[in-house]
């Protein structure tokens, strides 16, 4: 048997007191797609960064094609035939595809020769792997899916035999993701080796040949994909049994709580991000807003949350919001709670302690500050202790800064703060982005509980599975338009996927 494409032996790496990788051994055969799954902070990214020369491991060896290889920087990784496609693309936006491909791999001081050579190679590669891209297109005019292909082409142009993809489908529509997996299978059939890092179990099951599971810096198992199941993988990731689907009762929709009419939002650059949308949410129902990230959902949530200007009308139980001069205070006074999409940038002050964060946005409330402007820090601390206990935030020490909590626990902090206000309307964006599987189950149950109490909920998510399992009604945002108002029970991933790509009727 041929030597494995990549073999890691006893790789360890620590950052300060944290051990991110503990004695990791892994072997990936030539011509396979190998998946790596694990929760946030399990050490996947660290391991791949070691492989690509961003970090130096504390101990352990790397073998590429059977030969011991030392990878001090990314240049060495490239010459060893390793290519990496990052979650956030590293492309020059105003360069053409061709220029991006040769960037850093030019053959001399003058570009003409390199460009001509790259053009021919690019044509060959496109033909070989179904990677059609116009070599003269400018990156900023291309869709995200195409941009990702450019990243792959970049790696192939540098003669990569081993391709590492980090969460490649995070920004893709379902059909773009399908196309990506076809490309990857094609590459595999031509003898390339692919390492796919993802947290989506469905992708692992669909696309990989073998899969490794990481938990808390350790490699807990390596399995043949055919012989495992999502449930088994989830259990290996979390270390206990996990319910992947929430169970919920039929909803009883009541009065209209939130009514949005002809809402348009123009952003700071003058671009129209939300185009004349209209919808309503009733008591006791969850309206899902699906869509690929960047189609106006963020702006919509920010406008409803009272910190972005908009035009049109929004009324809360008949009370009209002042959209031209928004106020987060007005929103909170109307009993609207908002769990923002980006908890680290919006929802929390990362340098504040957990107890300071538990009152964030509600510092004006009488329970947290008096009329003289003095904070009631004692009350904040006791509140924090209570809410953190209820939401099982770990560690339970409320004197720790928000920064020191994991993504899932940060999210629980925000949820504890917002849900425990017992709001009439809950706006919630990407409730489980970057959250561990174990915590997802808990968060979903909390949302359902709130709905069953008769609250109106707007849930924005890019995860179709989440939309389908949680919501009662669903609309899709595409290019600022809200399309396809459907009952969740009467639609499916396929139909929504088409709407998300703008390919609908």
């Amino acid at each position: 048997m041929a030597a494995p494409a990549i073999q890691l032996k006893n790789i360890s790496k620590s950052f300060g007191p944290v051990q991110a990788n503990k004695n990791i051994s892994l072997s990936v055969n030539v011509g396979t797609i190998h998946g790596i799954v694990g929760e946030n902070g399990a050490g996947k990214s660290t391991l791949m960064s070691i492989l690509y020369g961003f970090y130096k491991s504390d101990s352990g060896d790397i073998f590429v094609g059977g030969e011991k290889t030392i990878i001090p920087d990314s240049q060495a990784a490239i010459s060893a035939g390793i290519g990496m496609v990052f979650q956030h693309f590293k492309l020059v936006e105003n360069f053409s595809v061709l220029e991006n491909v040769i960037l850093g791999a030019e053959d001399g001081a003058l570009l003409k020769q390199s460009l001509a050579k790259a053009r021919i190679q690019l044509q060959d590669l496109s033909k070989e792997y179904e990677l059609d891209v116009d070599p003269d297109a400018i990156i900023e005019n291309m869709s995200v899916g195409l941009q990702q292909r450019v990243e792959i082409l970049k790696a192939l142009y540098r003669e990569a035999n081993i391709l590492i993809l980090d969460e490649p489908t995070g920004v893709l529509t379902p059909s773009e993701a399908d196309h990506l997996f076809r490309i990857l299978k094609n590459l595999r059939d031509q003898g390339k080796t692919i390492i796919l890092i993802t947290h989506k179990l469905r992708e692992i099951m669909d696309a990989t040949d073998t899969v490794s599971v990481m938990r808390a810096g350790e490699m807990t198992a390596t399995l043949e994909t055919k012989k495992t199941s999502p449930e088994e993988l989830a259990e290996l990731m979390v270390g206990r049994k996990v319910l992947l689907n929430v169970s919920k009762n039929e909803n009883k929709a009541g009065d209209i709580a939130l009514e949005v009419k002809n809402l348009s939002i123009t952003d700071e650059k003058g671009v129209l991000r939300v185009k004349d949308i209209t919808f309503e949410v009733r008591e006791g129902e969850i309206l899902g807003i699906a869509g690929v990230a960047g189609n106006g959902q963020s702006e919509l949530l920010e406008a409803l949350g009272g910190f972005r200007k908009a035009e049109g009308s929004v009324s809360i139980y008949g009370h009209s919001l002042n959209l031209a001069n928004p106020s987060g205070q007005e929103i909170r006074d109307l009993s609207i709670a908002h769990v923002p999409e980006d908890r680290q940038r919006l929802g929390l002050i990362m340098e504040f302690t957990a107890w300071e964060n538990i009152g964030f946005g509600y510092q004006h409330e009488n329970e947290y500050s008096n009329n003289w402007g003095l904070m009631n820090n004692k009350k904040l601390r006791s509140d924090a202790a209570e809410k953190m206990k209820k939401f099982d935030v770990r560690p339970s020490d409320n004197k720790l800064k928000a920064r020191s909590f994991s993504g899932g626990n940060q999210q629980k902090l925000v949820l504890a703060r917002e849900i425990e206000r017992n709001p009439d309307i809950l706006l919630i964006g990407q409730p489980t982005r970057g959250v561990d599987i174990g915590a997802i189950e808990f968060i979903h149950n909390e949302i359902i509980k709130l709905r069953d109490e008769g609250k109106a909920i707007v849930l924005v998510s890019v995860e179709l599975d989440e939309i389908l399992s949680l919501t009662d009604r669903v609309s899709v945002m595409f290019d600022g338009n809200l399309i396809g108002n459907k009952l969740t029970s009467e639609t499916n991933a396929m139909e929504l996927g088409l709407l998300m790509g703008g390919e609908a009727n």
Binding site: G16, P17, V18, G305, G306, F307, S327, G328, Q329, I331, R332, H338, P340, R345, L346, G347, L348, I349, M350, E351, F352, E356, F360, G361, Q363, H364, Y368, S369, G373, L374, M375, N377, S404
Partner: protein
């Protein structure tokens, strides 16, 4: 465990920075041909060896506490107010106007009014850059530094054309009336029966400065406004999410900052010269930046750093008087302290952090 204990963070690391700065300065002294050990002991003796030295050291420190607090409070909102110099000049003007306008019967009455005058003028001078930053997005670093020049020119104009005593050649106001002169360290300690040198200008403003430290500490960590200022400083986007108005926070913070810088006037104008002279600020506005950096924007840290800079200032004057070491060298030492504590802080911090965590790991 991802954090250093406080004693390493706010005591050990600045100390090491200081020692390195002094060590490099010693090399320079050696190069000039003086004995660095002698120079050092002369400096320390001159600054804190007797009540005369202490008197000057604490006088300088009082200035630096005010300007250091001014920079610190703005830092908490991540605003860089480097207009302390100009705001202190205008604060001095405010204090002088208060003192000259009314024939004050006693300092107990004139001091509180002068405090208000200095704070108001300082705040007013900061208000324009604050407004431009909050509403128009003009960068406050640029506007405040321009306002320093304007303040300086304005003061020259006023002292030469408006406030000068008729017939006098000096560009300065008349001396303040008896009831607007503050008790000095000699007077105050005299009440307690303690002997203190008569000449140094340290005065009751030091107590006002110490009170200000407590007030700012209270404001930052115990009030809603402080909570919002800190939240805004850490993340403007999150502050907006929470319904905190950036315009309000920028305005209020910079006004408080300007008021603190303006308060310096009671020490330098009312307490020391007892009249308004040109250049009463003498760079204290800029030293405030170094004091705030070294004190890590904490009022208590600012207090300690201000004392340290007071020692450097007074010790430096002594050095210049008794040795061939020029006064400029003290500026070199100050610059080294600023460089090491401000710009190169991580150079010392990182290895100490690494060492500390290694020891923690080895210990467990």
């Amino acid at each position: 465990m991802t954090k250093l204990p406080a004693w390493i963070d706010i005591l050990l690391i600045p100390m090491i920075n200081l020692i390195i700065a002094l060590f490099i300065s010693a090399l320079v002294v050696l190069y000039i041909g003086e004995n660095p050990i002698d120079a050092m002991s002369l400096m320390i003796k001159g600054a804190i060896g007797n009540s005369y030295g202490w008197g000057y050291t604490l006088y300088y420190a009082t200035n630096f506490i005010f300007t250091g607090l001014a920079v610190s409070i703005a830092f908490h909102a991540r605003i860089f107010n480097i207009g302390g110099e100009g705001q202190a000049m205008l604060g001095g003007l405010g204090v002088a106007l208060v003192c000259l306008m009314v024939p004050w019967p006693h300092w107990i009455i004139s001091l509180p009014v002068a405090v208000i005058g200095g704070a108001l003028f300082g705040a007013a001078w900061a208000a324009i850059p604050a407004y431009l930053q909050a509403k128009r997005g003009s960068h406050i670093v640029i506007t405040t530094i321009m306002f320093n020049f304007i303040a300086s020119a304005l003061l020259v104009y006023l002292l030469v054309n408006v406030l000068k005593v008729p017939g006098s050649m000096a560009p300065e106001t008349a001396r303040f009336p008896e009831g607007a002169r503050l008790p000095t360290g000699h007077d105050m300690l005299g009440w307690l029966g303690i002997k203190f040198s008569k000449s140094p200008p340290v005065n009751i403003s030091l107590l006002v400065a110490i009170l200000s430290c407590f007030a700012i500490w209270f404001l930052i960590w115990k009030t809603k406004l402080g909570y919002e200022i800190r939240a805004f400083g850490h993340s403007e986007s999150a502050a907006k999410y929470a319904g905190i108005s950036p315009v309000k926070i920028i305005m209020v913070t910079v006004l408080i900052s300007g008021a603190l810088a303006g308060l310096m006037g009671i020490n330098s104008v009312m307490g020391e010269s007892e009249r308004l002279v040109l250049d009463s600020v003498q760079g204290a506005g800029f030293i405030g930046i170094a004091v705030a950096l070294m004190g890590r924007s904490h009022p208590f840290g600012v207090f300690l750093a201000a004392i340290l800079f007071g020692i450097l200032y007074q010790g430096g004057a002594e050095l210049a008087m008794w040795t061939s070491i020029p006064r400029e060298l003290i500026v070199v030492i100050q610059a080294l302290v600023i460089l090491l504590t401000g710009a190169l802080d991580n150079m010392i911090r990182m290895p100490i952090e690494r060492l500390y965590f290694k020891m923690v790991r080895a210990g467990t």
